[in-house]
Assembly symmetry: C2
Homo-oligomer: 340 residues x 2
């Protein structure tokens, strides 16, 4: 099959690889209908995460179940499924509490690389959610978004306590931040402030429900949010970047008693305890338990209520995956969709 490997910074290649096979009886093999490039893939591409050997890439996927292991009971061959980037049993105490990405039997679902024609998904019953039927082609981008960026933005909004009457601020105007806006809007937020200085992203932010734009960053950005909220700060702040600056910007944009939902994968972040203590800001974040939200998200997409697939502004054949990375790295694209 065709698959994607990263060899080092800036060096992503589409190559012929062995087809995956069932290893554990709880596995499923899916024929990937679409996958994509994640903002977090760029950490490797930019050399910030060290790549020590050629590594399969991709952890966002939708597709048709080809084959199942003998212990798989709920997922059937022929079904169209959406998965999440961590495989989970969905039965342990942690999963039942809604934190499937910390499942006691968690495995990385992208280990085989989802930017490929086929993917082995461990713990298929606990990881994959089937759609009512095989979707029409126009739903593919939105269903693919559900597998990570929408689920992650949604978790950010939930963790930030977004809801009716709330003012939500969003740090980061990448795909996750943009879908955090959509999530906040769906959850009933009254006002949604987005930090963005890119015209194309601002336009999509507004379409998804942003009511206010702030172009300032860091402490200036936080001051602007306070100015917009009677000096108090937002109730709920979604952090979708993962740097020291973005975390402090998020915390400092939040009112006392408010919440930060942080979903940007943290890199070299160190939080000052004294400031956090006196801020009265509540923090919850981490790898989004997308599985918790998938049935609801699929339903909202299936019924046409939301169209998160709009974050894909570039579509490429799988063999051109390298151009997808380049375009996102150079900010020519928000998010690149790949079709085998």
């Amino acid at each position: 099959m065709r698959g994607t490997l990263i060899y080092g910074p800036g060096d992503v290649r589409s190559e012929t690889r062995d087809d995956p096979t069932i290893i554990d009886p709880t596995d499923a093999i899916i024929r990937v209908s679409a996958s994509c490039v994640c903002g977090s893939d760029l950490w490797d591409y930019r050399g910030i995460n060290k790549v020590t050997e050629p590594t399969p890439m991709g952890h966002e996927y939708v597709g048709i179940v080809e084959e199942i292991g003998q212990d798989v009971q709920h997922v059937k061959p022929g079904q169209f499924v959406v998965g999440s980037f961590f495989a989970s049993d969905n039965t342990c105490e942690i999963c039942r509490a809604g934190f499937q990405t910390s499942c006691v039997n968690r495995q990385y679902a992208g280990a085989g690389g989802a930017q490929a024609e086929y993917l082995r998904v461990p713990l298929a019953d606990g990881t994959l959610v089937a759609t009512p039927e095989v979707p029409s082609d126009d739903l593919l981008p939105s269903l693919l978004a559900a597998s990570d960026v929408l689920g992650t933005g949604w978790f950010g909004a939930v963790a930030a306590g977004a809801g009716p009457g709330k003012t939500v601020a969003v740090v980061g105007d990448g795909a996750v931040g943009l879908l955090g806006i959509l999530a906040a809007k769906e959850l009933g937020a009254e006002r949604i402030i987005v930090f963005s200085r890119h015209a194309d992203r601002q336009a999509l932010a507004k379409e998804f429900g942003a009511t206010d734009l702030v172009v300032e960053r860091g402490d200036e950005g936080a001051a602007k949010v306070k100015e917009l909220t009677d000096g108090l700060g937002a109730h709920s702040v979604i952090e979708a970047v993962g740097t020291q600056e973005s975390m402090l910007q998020a915390i400092r944009s939040t009112r006392p008693g408010g919440n930060v939902g942080y979903v940007g994968v943290a890199h070299d972040v160190s939080l000052p305890g004294e400031e956090l203590f006196f801020s009265h800001v509540q923090l919850l974040g981490g790898p989004a338990p997308v599985r918790r939200f998938l049935p609801d998200l699929i339903d909202r997409i299936w019924t046409g209520r939301i169209n998160p697939g709009k974050v894909f502004d570039l579509e490429l054949p799988l063999s051109d995956v390298a151009e997808g990375y380049r375009a996102m790295d150079e900010r020519r694209a928000v998010k690149a969709l790949l079709r085998p």
Copy 2:
């Protein structure tokens, strides 16, 4: 009047000072019935917080209202009142959300020093809560505890999500930690694990509701909590110390999706972002909004349901305040009560 000043590390003096007077029309003057020495006072006493000039000490108090400013409407002279260490208007948006210690008009209620015969309390209507009548002498210690250590332990338990079916762990066996145990028990926790290696504190911990004792600290202590909880960690952890070690011990004792309520005043704490991200642990802490809980706490004390005053294991005349600091510094006492 007699009041208490700190001059430098280890140097606390009982002196004659001017009686406080009404300054703002929202002030009240109270005749202090009892005050006490706080664990956080020891940061100054031990030279960890720098003392640059003689400073009035004490921020925990109960007493009789002597005089009120012309704008005070709800508090009346002759009433017995319990206050909190931050004065709050209790009407702003932040107060109404339950974070009175971040009130937009917040003032430090201990500015005049509560380890004294009289105290000026700003924003009296929003800060002081009157008891149904002047209490009998045996209720004094518990009502005094409500003004800080009980309210703080209670906030720690609430912030940690303690409740029915939950396993709660408590880091810190000082007065706040011990009353965090009492709070967790009152809130319905199923199991309460306390980190403690002092026999007298262990005994009180058990009396307040602790079910398990752990003598190990740091990562060994966290490992012990995991061992006691099927490898998962506690649902809710109350942090009542405020050091780097205690914060990490708290975070590492918590299961994914669980909560840390941290109420030990943070000193030189720096939280590793990556670890926090992947821990899935929710954090809420800060100066306890005691005012939020006071009516409920007073009721529980008044009806004899709880007896938090047991944390006072030393009672001294106000003039012997220095011995109170010494005894707590040397861990000869958990908490010293002072009577004018």
